[in-house]
Symmetry: C2
């Protein structure tokens, strides 16, 4: 089934101990879409400037990602630059130029309004909500990402939007900030009261945990010898997660558990090269082979 993603498309300047690259295609929706497209047809709603070239478009087109919803505006595309420290466990943002993204008002093309699987990337909660209002069909799963900025500045709007979503995909700091609970098990119970009955907590090198009203599921990060660029790992996780669900077409305990694994698989591939590069060369056989490695990594027989 089709998967709609709404969020940022950007150019990134990234420096890690493995190198320095500028004007890399990036942004949360790009990573998400290029991870999810390996499982299901993806529709992208975002905004870019007139510096976004045919070559940039081709990266998505090559993966059959639907760009009807990618608005082109006069001006420059969102630009972000950051530098990672030696161990890549910390990063410093050097530049954030919102450019055309500052005026992003997501509009769904008519063909998108029947999307059954939807992911609302990290943008203003009011805009996230506006996307849902444009959907006319019956949705199966709406997922949402957010960040400290919105938790602090627009808590009421965020809480209103949360009432309409099923899966919240955030990191542990955001979980704690949103609920005021340090203990994640108790934090999950607060989230359930807000609307989502499934909380996916991304923990970077420590993997991810799913807290569902009826079960818990934990998946480790894949132990890699070389991480070249951590940018987009969480968005690729979300893309693999939602993509798997949309591809399966149904949401139950088994598909949710597998979605967590495929999320981790895509996150682990994303960091192997700079930008979205690794996601664009990924073969289905590689994805499934790594999923089987996750099974070896975690299975035991009492």
């Amino acid at each position: 089934m089709s998967l709609l993603v709404v969020g940022s498309v950007a150019f990134d300047g990234i420096e890690t101990p493995h190198g320095k690259h500028d004007r890399l295609l990036g942004g949360a929706a790009s990573y998400f879409a290029l991870a999810a497209c390996h499982f299901a047809p993806v529709r992208l709603v975002g905004i870019v400037g007139d510096d976004f070239t045919a070559q940039d478009v081709a990266v998505f087109k090559h993966q059959q990602i639907d760009l009807q919803g990618l608005e082109r505006a006069t001006g420059k595309t969102f630009y972000w630059a950051g530098r990672y420290n030696q161990n890549m466990n910390e990063r410093t943002t050097l530049i954030t130029d919102l450019n055309v993204f500052a005026n992003f008002k997501p509009t769904l093309p008519p063909a998108y309004t029947d999307s059954a699987f939807i992911f609302l990337g990290n943008i203003d909660p009011t805009l996230q909500h506006s996307v849902l209002k444009q959907v006319t069909g019956k949705t199966k799963v709406v997922g949402l990402d957010t960040m400290n900025y919105w938790i602090e500045r627009t808590p009421a709007e965020l809480k209103e939007t949360l009432k309409h979503i099923q899966v919240l995909v955030i990191n542990d700091d955001e979980t704690r900030q949103l609920t005021g609970q340090h203990n994640l098990t108790r934090a999950a119970k607060e989230i359930f009261k807000m609307g989502p009955k499934t909380l996916v907590i991304k923990r970077g090198e420590h993997g991810a945990i799913m807290m569902h009203e009826k079960f818990l599921f934990s998946v480790p990060a894949f132990p890699l010898e070389e991480v070249h660029d951590p940018t987009g790992a969480g968005d690729s996780f979300a893309g693999g997660f939602m993509g798997y669900l949309a591809g399966a077409g149904k949401v139950n305990e088994r598909t949710l558990r597998n979605a967590m694994v495929y999320g981790s698989v895509l996150g682990s591939f994303a960091v192997e090269k700079f930008g979205v590069q690794r996601l664009t060369t990924l073969r289905r056989s590689e994805i499934h082979a790594r999923a089987r490695l996750f099974s070896k990594l975690t299975s035991f027989k009492l």
Copy 2:
């Protein structure tokens, strides 16, 4: 098969957001022994002062822990006091009085020299090595714990001792410090060159990972709603881990994976109450029930 543990027996003063308790029975070897005793007969080598009462002895005796190797010296028992912060992810050491532990020279009673499973708790590497020299029988597994203090001050002695052990059980910071490698996969390869072919990395609330020359295995921490006292979690993990192996009597991929699970099970119980309290009331049925919960927490079917 019998499991020998050598290490500290102490009295602890512990303050957490859940309360403040003084003169709690503690020390790494105590937590280890009281966790391991649920799986195999445990022999303890340690030292206590004349303030160690019959009641303290009874805690071990009640669990059939062999105290022939527990030396009594004139003076006071090792005393440690610490305070945890609100979220219990940081602690401040308030007092460390080594007392009789400063002169600990571990001596194996003749009945202990045939121990097939041995765990060398975090003490001077030269003393750890001296224990192995007293063993006359053939060992199956020797495990070892250490800390930053020994890695910094006695690196040569530590590396000599590491040549004689099979399983190194340390945390992620110690792994990085010992190898000079931030990446844990690459750090493991350095450890393998030092002697141990199995590295168990304890990661607190993030679980534990086993890096074996032939396989990797990851286990999460058990998501608890209430942590009352994190003291001894790592030692209880090591006790559950080594205890399970000694109980199984054989070391192969399956028993090593299960040992990781039972290590996490015991670590998770240890923190539910202050000091060793929870370990002393633990029933076998509770242990196995929680191990099955770990299976539910991590299993998926692709």
